[in-house]
């Protein structure tokens, strides 16, 4: 029996948990006085010690990123929370903003305090209009009760939070494209810096973290790093919201410790594959992670290291379950249509590669393909890997390679038709 962990989800089941009046009686904002009385360095240290990893897909150590923020810099610092959540199969951040928005706000205040930011933005996916309304109300209420604005809870710290709505581009979830978009420009990822440095918003040092990463902060400050590290594995410390969708009895989001068995998770929380069918494959962490066969799923545990050793990655923890009847060529076509539509179009290999792979796969599905086309798909995957500005194209490359290498016979059968 897997035990659920309650770092960010402990108030999800309370009625009207999104309302400040309700949630105050369940301890909302109780960590603020502790955090705002601490030295900034002690908070930074605590986050480093906790081993907290970014939950937006990359899994970077949060503490390392926070330490990149300059200490005595004349420029203002900014905190930007990434709530673009557009990765297919991923719907965890929206649980947080609709079920416990005040925990996110509390986490933002503590984070902003630690990095010395007085202005924070939440970049929210354009389609999340209804959820944004809930989040905005929470922010308004927090202002009214003195949790936001000037002299928060009477302390010498100010913070303003503004929500910025995206316009429906998946690429704006990539942090540098997000910042371009926030600056009012086209959402194009930026060239990577040569050395480790913070992100830049209008040339000012900026920290970008995922919603869930920031929402984990109050727990760590209240219970100390060791309490967080108790969950999870040596290198993947803590817990994460994992999502189930696809051919599953019960789709949903559950928080468990890293290292949990994937199959057990699927069976216990999802009630197994839909209609008692056999499991064929799982896309483990949002559509951009390479697919796992049922055999691999049996070996998989939900942590960064294990999934990497299986040639995939933990990503956003959004698992897409596929039953035995799934047509893998159709499934890949579905994904490629998405990437074809969402490539930002900057880099030649990605702009043209996403289109061409989609076109070739359509040809194969039409029965007009040949094994030459399958090889061409693999060639294209190779061209898209490691030659672009952001990791969008390499991710597509990994997806194509995993589908074809693991299910090549299904692709070949299509040609004969």
């Amino acid at each position: 029996m897997i035990e659920e962990v309650k770092v960010v989800s402990h108030r999800f089941n309370i009625n009207n948990s999104h309302l400040l009046d309700t949630i105050l009686s369940y301890g909302a904002y109780r960590v603020l006085p502790i955090g705002l009385s601490m030295k900034k360095d002690s908070i930074l240290d605590m986050i480093v010690q906790s081993g907290l990893r970014g939950k937006g897909g990359g899994g970077a150590l949060a503490g390392e990123k926070w330490l990149l923020m300059p200490k005595d810099d004349p420029r203002p610092s900014y905190l930007v929370v990434n709530c673009d959540e557009s990765e297919p199969g991923t719907f965890k951040d929206r649980q947080i903003i609709t079920k416990d928005p005040h925990l996110l706000i509390e986490g933002m205040i503590l984070t902003a305090y630690a990095i010395g930011a007085n202005i924070a933005y939440i970049y929210i996916r354009g389609e999340y209009q209804d959820f944004e309304a809930i989040l905005q109300k929470a922010i308004d209420d927090a202002y009214e009760k003195g949790y936001l604005g000037e002299n928060i809870i009477g302390k010498n710290f100010n913070l303003d939070i503004t929500i910025h709505r995206g316009a429906g581009a998946y690429i704006c979830g990539e942090k540098s494209a997000l910042l371009e978009s926030l600056e009012g420009k086209r959402g194009h990822p930026r060239l990577k810096p040569k050395a480790k440095e913070p992100e830049w918003y209008f040339g000012n040092p900026t920290l970008v973290n995922n919603v869930e990463t920031i929402t984990s902060v109050p727990f760590i400050i209240e219970n100390r790093a060791a309490a967080y590290k108790r969950f999870g594995t040596e290198n993947s410390s803590g817990s994460m919201l994992f999502a189930l969708s696809g051919h599953i009895e019960k789709a949903g989001v559950h928080e468990v410790a890293f290292g949990t068995s994937m199959l057990e998770f699927i069976n216990q929380f999802g009630g197994g594959v839909k209609n008692g069918k056999k499991l064929k494959a799982v896309i483990p962490g949002g559509s951009s992670t390479p697919i796992l066969t049922a055999d691999e799923v049996a070996k998989a545990t939900l942590d960064y290291e294990t999934l990497r050793s299986l040639g995939s990655s933990l990503g956003t923890g959004g698992m897409i379950i596929m039953d035995e009847d799934t047509d893998m060529v159709e499934a890949l076509k579905n994904l490629l249509e998405f990437y074809h539509d969402e490539s930002c179009g900057q880099c030649t290999p990605c702009r043209e590669g996403t289109g061409l792979t989609d076109t070739l796969l359509a040809k194969i599905l039409d029965g007009r393909g040949s094994s030459k086309d399958i090889d061409k798909l693999l060639d294209l995957a190779d061209i898209m890997n490691g030659k672009t500005i952001c990791v969008f194209a390499p991710a597509v490359s990994g997806v194509i390679q995993s589908f074809i290498s693991k299910f090549r016979d299904e692709f070949e059968k299509k040609e004969i038709k």
Binding site: G345, Q346, E352, G355, L356, K376, I383, G386
Partner: protein, 469 residues
């Protein structure tokens, strides 16, 4: 600080931290690229300038790689060739095959690189290629063919970062991305046509030049624009077709770090037309064509009869050598010489970049020769005025006017001008030096040789003074 790097087994001493692509370009090492441009910097979108760096797992783009001590760069390995070929193939996947009707053909980077890396079969049918707008009038004489565009963003970066006029942007994502104008905006800035030169392919063409000449038929001769005293460096692209006269088809900017960088203004660019249109070709007196001997005789007899009452005006666009000759000529016939510069001032034209309000290309030359730049109040003449193409002879009162002129100014000038008129060669048909506003002296060689050449000021002076014994 200078450091040592190795490129394809040759050692180079370069500035620490300098951009690899600049080093390669400077040393004439082949490095295909669409988006990088010295004036616009790196954007990293085309991915063509891939090189191998020892110790790096993946190929790197040279436009975003900085030289470091001991760096080993490989630009010619088989794997780099393959990568460039792959990326070029994708660049061409949706590209129309327009070369036969495309103005860029012959000076197109896509064509050049295809010859270097291409030669493969297309992976899709031409009917499956993505369709976009083929003829989009952006404004300012620039036509966009979205299908030919390789989305290098040079044009958008020019209007965003250089002119800061923000007329252009890229809309749409993935292979639907395309360049367009911002809503309710037209391309509208005095430097707009530079994007035609910046465009590495035939996506942007000049309305003025389109379909007028194939690029490989043109000869490019270095010269200097005469539009103002900035003296931007240009190429005069001209051609002499069989049985026809030499003709200028366009001006293009010529790089000069100290003057105009990579660009010129649109007005200067289009000023080539003035070198061809409304030219004064005939020697006239009383609006009748006369012979050279008679013209010179007539002039000399006028000079004799107006002794001590002669004034000479000179155009501040003439070359120093011409001005000098005219100046000594003035001295020899006892004439005063002026070049009023106020006639050339055009404050609406000037800006704080290239365009200068002083619209005479050799105003500084006039000054350096100590020719009077204004007509002093106490100076009056009622005698003979000899005007070497100065635009405003009516600044002075005179009894008689003799004109050396390059152009017929208007209809009236054509039909009713009874003066003695000597046709004068334009700048492209003459040669000499100019001094620009920053005191840089530049030489312009004679570029155009007409079938029946019009004499230059220098040639006229020689002819005329040859007669005065």
């Amino acid at each position: 600080m200078s450091i040592n790097i190795k490129i394809d087994d040759t050692n180079f001493e370069v500035e620490d931290n300098s951009l690899l692509i600049d080093i390669l370009l400077k040393n004439d090492i082949k490095i295909p690229h669409f988006c990088y441009h010295e004036a616009l910097g790196a954007d990293g979108n085309c991915r063509m300038c891939m090189v191998e760096i020892a110790g790096q797992k993946r190929p790197q783009i040279a436009c975003d790689t900085f030289a470091k001590e001991g760096m080993e760069v490989f630009t010619k390995t088989a794997s780099i060739h393959a990568v460039r070929q792959d990326i070029l193939e994708l660049e061409l996947i949706n590209h129309p095959i327009d070369c036969p009707t495309c103005d860029q053909a012959g000076e197109c980077k896509l064509q050049d690189y295809y010859m270097d890396y291409g030669f493969y079969e297309s992976a899709i049918n031409s009917s499956d290629k993505i369709k976009h707008e083929k003829h989009k009038d952006l404004g300012s004489n620039v036509i966009l063919d979205q299908e030919r565009c390789v989305l290098c963003a040079r044009c958008t970066r020019f209007t965003t970062d250089i002119t800061k006029t923000h007329e252009l942007g890229i809309i749409g994502r993935g292979d639907e991305a395309r360049v367009t104008t911002m809503p309710n905006k037209k391309l509208d800035n005095p430097y707009a046509m530079n994007i035609v030169d910046l465009c590495p392919v035939g996506a942007l063409t000049s309305k003025d030049f389109r379909f007028s000449q194939r690029s490989w038929l043109l000869t490019s001769s270095p010269s200097v624009c005469h539009g103002c005293d900035k003296g931007c460096n240009i190429y005069i692209d001209h051609n002499k077709l069989k049985y026809q006269d030499a003709k200028i088809y366009r001006f293009k900017p010529r790089y000069n770090k100290n003057i105009n960088g990579h660009f010129i203004c649109d007005e200067g660019r289009l000023s080539y037309k003035e070198l061809e249109e409304n030219r004064q070709y005939n020697l006239l007196s009383d609006n009748k064509v006369i012979s050279k001997n008679i013209a010179i005789e007539t002039l000399n007899s006028k000079i004799n009869s107006y002794k001590n009452n002669i004034t000479i005006l000179v155009d501040a666009n003439l070359y120093n050598e011409e001005l000098e000759a005219i100046k000594s000529y003035a001295l020899s016939i006892g004439a005063k010489i002026f070049s009023p510069l106020s006639s050339y001032m055009d404050n609406a034209f000037g800006d704080d970049w290239l365009k200068s309000s002083m619209r005479a290309s050799n105003a500084k030359g006039i000054k350096s020769l100590s020719i009077n730049t204004e007509i002093t109040e106490d100076y009056t003449t009622t005698g003979l005025l000899i005007n070497f193409n100065h635009p405003n002879p009516d600044l002075l009162s005179y009894l008689e006017l003799v004109e050396f002129k390059t152009h017929i100014n208007n209809e009236k000038d054509k039909e009713e001008n009874l003066n003695l008129i000597f046709p004068l060669a334009v700048s492209s048909e003459s040669e000499g030096t100019l001094i620009n506003k920053n005191n840089i002296t530049q030489y312009c060689k004679k570029v155009i040789n007409k079938n029946s050449p019009t004499p230059t000021a220098l040639e006229w002076i020689l002819d005329i003074t040859g007669d005065i014994k």
